[in-house]
Amino acid sequence: MGFLWTIVTLVVALGLTWRYLGSYMAAVFDGRVHFLGAVERPLYRALGTSPDREQTWRRYATSVVVFSGVSFALTYLLLRIQGSLPLDPQHLGAVGPALSFNTAASFLTNTNWQNYGGETTMSYFSQIGALMVQQFVSPAVGIVAAIALVRGFARKESTTIGNFWVDLVRCLFYVLLPIAFLAGLVFVGQGAVQTLAGTVSIHDAMNGVTQTIARGPIGFMEAIKQLGTNGGGFLNANSATPFENPTALTNWLSIYLMLAIPFSLTYTFGKLVGSVRQGRALLAAMVLVFGVWVGFTSYSEHQGNPAVAAAGIVHQSTGNMVGKEVRFGDTSSALFAVASTQTSTGSADASYDSFTPMGGFGLLTGMMLGEVTPGGSGTGLYTMLIYAIVAVFIGGLMIGRTPEYLGKKIQAKEVKLAGLGSLVMPLLVLVLTAVAVSVHAGRIGPLNSGPHGFTEILYALTSQGNNNGSAFGGLSGNTPFYNVVGAIDMLIGRFGIMIPALALGGSLAAKNVVPESLGTFRTDNTMFVGLVIGVIVIIGGLTFFPAISLGPIVEQLSHGKFF
């Protein structure tokens, strides 16, 4: 019953957020929000730009790439010289080169894959100055790229799609900063830690236990970690630790924050192209897929753990509790996990490695759908629009007309770009998984044996290729092989889709609008929603089916066998 209310309250809260945050973001990127004008204007002067200096898609994309390159270099540098920087009460010393490389790529691409344990590797300086900064900046880059693509649909015969620097500043100051700060207060109020005072040692006179407890500026990082669909926690066990996620209320808030921006951007999209119905159609496709995945993943986790059953506890009324926290329970952990994997967040309030075979299947396939239901901050919307273009193209083939989407003719160039954008990820993930299982350095990674070991490898490369960052944590990822392969996976997974999306924006902006006629293929009705879901499921499902069947499906079918 409690779970039902959790869902109901989330639906109501997210519905209101979709409507109001969605239109607020449309106003922000239209330049109609000015309450921080006094901060905004000096920033534009420092950057040597202004809102009326627009960029072509090429310049926009170049700005994205150069800025990302500088962010990468700075993050790498800060981690390498950590030992010489202040705010290091535990004297943790420099981070190694391969790990720094992987971590810099990870936070820059909004992945937040973590091959390290936060409390034993990163100083407060690195957590704040290197990692948390990227947790603000990388989702903002994703969001503005999506807005640039949307402008391609909204504009007529335009050579430009906006100004990257202006969009970035607006997104950071008007959207991410205020929401994160408010949410941070709730996290701390509930019990998340926020201090720079270092560890605390306790001695319990009752049982003789002594503990040294890791602390840090955790609560406010937690807020932007979830809001920006980042997922990289301060502590190794992420949102499962009470210092990051102290109560069932913060767990609810985490789920809400992860979903807020990705869902709301469909409203922003509708608003900017002049038809909220168009945004609602994309939202419907996202919600339907997301809902089905929540349903069967929660159901699977409520079924109990096969190993625990075989050890004599057959009736598990609280479900599969291996790797789960009592204050969340089985179904809420599953809901958190689905939200985290389908928004490209990748935070974890439980051990995903210990989910039941079908529960793990839900998480893995949720990412394989391409992070579009609703996907990451911005990345979800632009990837969804790429899938929508593919759907329009297929629909056009079926009725034998030149496909149009929002009045823009979808021609060979757009179809090629959309094809590229939708195939990069599956190709990348499958090739790198094949490499990892073929070489010794890849095969020694998994903790578990049998099909589950294969799933650990497949999950790691799927997660990084989709810029998700969640993990089947048993895999030993901090090796030169996984650090380098993972970094390549994350970088191609990010820019291999973002750049075609920006190119699409440029190409669409240049086109005129074809007036709607009786024969126009409608993209705001149930039929189109079904077509989009079909495209998502076929691209994700069919491409990955052979790989999936070697992992979780075999594991599920091997009744009574242990590996």
């Binding site: 207060l185 109020g189 040294t212 890791a214 069932a248 291996v322 789960k324 051990s351």
Partner: protein, 202 residues
């Protein structure tokens, strides 16, 4: 290209200052002002109510077995054990789960060992008492997890089972706002109440 580079450096510097340090410092300041107890780790006289401890003696209620039986810290074998937020009783660790898969032979053997551990203590365990948590130091158990341990605690302390049942009921926190998560018992608070009851009884 050069313009982009210059703008990137400026933007990176602004981000470092505003979204790194100003955000974190302002957050820390407000948090320390409004919620000092929470912001510093919910520390009480016996430890943090948010960090599980190892209660190995039968005279205490046990938490999740993050540091019990097969999961007990063993530096020789390289097992950090749970309940180690950084160090516990001199053994280094960090937060984390066992990450054992649902069809793992190791998980099966470990769970069997825990079931017999509880049976030796006269307890018929629930699933939470034979499975480890996500953080490695889950501070809570469900009310049922506490109730099934009553025979063990009653025998070791001499307190009547009915008094212990009242104790568990009094220490049970309901689901938040009535529907979020499940009702739970904080093991540290429960054992503090138990110690209080023992002192009062003498």
């Amino acid at each position: 290209m050069l313009t982009n580079l210059r703008r990137s450096v400026v933007m990176a510097a602004i981000s470092l200052v505003v979204f790194g340090f100003l955000y974190a410092l302002a957050g820390t300041g407000v948090a320390q002002l409004l919620f000092p107890h929470q912001a510093n780790g919910s520390i009480t006289a016996y430890g943090s109510t948010l960090i599980g401890q190892n209660w190995s003696s039968p005279r205490w209620f046990h938490g999740r077995p993050d540091d019990t039986g097969p999961y007990a810290s063993n530096p020789k074998k390289g097992i950090a054990g749970g309940d180690n937020p950084l160090f516990a009783n001199g053994v280094a660790g960090e937060s984390g789960a066992t990450n054992l898969g649902p069809r793992s032979k190791v998980l099966l053997a470990d769970t069997k060992a825990l079931v017999s551990y509880w049976h030796r203590h006269g307890v018929d365990p629930t699933e939470d008492l034979v499975t480890t948590s996500g953080s490695g130091y889950d501070p809570d158990i469900t009310p049922l997890d506490a109730v099934v341990q009553i025979p063990m605690v009653a025998k070791a302390t001499g307190i009547s089972p009915s008094a212990l049942r009242h104790l568990v009921a009094a220490e049970t926190h309901g689901a938040e706002l009535g529907f979020l998560g499940s009702s739970y018992v904080d093991v540290l608070q429960l054992n503090e109440a138990l110690a209080h009851l023992e002192r009062a009884g003498r």
